[in-house]
Amino acid sequence: MKPTDSLKPASPARRVLIGAAGAWGAVQLLPGSALAQVPAPFNPNELPPIPAMEEFLAGRRVQFTRMQMDIPRVADNGNSVSLKLGVLGATTPGAVQSIHLFSEKNPVPRMAVFRFSPQSARFDIESRVRLAGTQRVVAIATLANGALHAKVSEVLVAIAACLDGA
């Protein structure tokens, strides 16, 4: 082999490969491509696709007017994110039967079910949850008359800056 062999023009096989690579790169730039990674803007009136939640809803519709959820927009750490739940205007005994909490990305999507007694007259809940990465969380209250009220929140969760091996 001569030293100038590597400077020869690409063989036909190599040309096909380079062409294919270029085409693949061009596809990335196409709008609406399935390979595009730009996330959709957060829509609070849209339920995220969560199979466990859809199973619970069983086709029933939800309203977005009365369920309240207080959760940080940016989590300090996904291991512990403070959460407050409430149902607007629910002040009579038994007004709310239960509140379901669903996660879009956690390995266990059905995070919690809070089941109230018929005597309960105030339906505020406070707790701390774990979130496996940036995602939407859905709280759904089942009222006494069977009506469903939902709240969708998006939480930004980043991993720790420094790996901690201690």
Binding site: N106, A112, F114, Q119, F123, D124, I125, S127
Partner: protein, 107 residues
């Protein structure tokens, strides 16, 4: 030793809503972590927590690995008679825990 702290108001009037708080020391092991030799640490989270007020179920929570470790829970009950607020919870390992607090109701 059931490591949990319960907080109820010092005293409360009959018919009033009062807040109950419980903080539990439990690792809530998700089952997705590995130890330092690469072996998966088995899942062990609290599955269910039941609060009873003088023996009657007042609140039930289905829990999962979605709760933070050392979980905190705050909710409201309606005061009826003086007596006991008890908590019972069970985890994946089958361990049952219980804690209680006294409640004084006036009126």
């Amino acid at each position: 030793m059931a490591d949990a702290r319960i907080q109820v108001p010092q005293s409360v009037k009959r018919g009033e809503n009062f807040e109950v708080k419980i903080a539990i020391r439990h690792g809530m092991e998700t089952g997705y972590r590995v130890d330092d030799v690469g072996k998966q640490i088995p899942r062990n989270v609290i599955r269910e927590l039941v609060c009873k007020y003088n023996g009657a179920e007042a609140m039930r929570v289905d829990m999962s690995s979605g709760f933070a470790a050392n979980p905190l829970l705050q909710f409201w009950l309606v005061a009826r008679d003086s007596g006991e607020i008890t908590f019972e919870w069970v985890d994946d390992a089958g361990t049952r825990f219980a804690e209680r607090a006294s409640l004084t109701v006036s009126g």
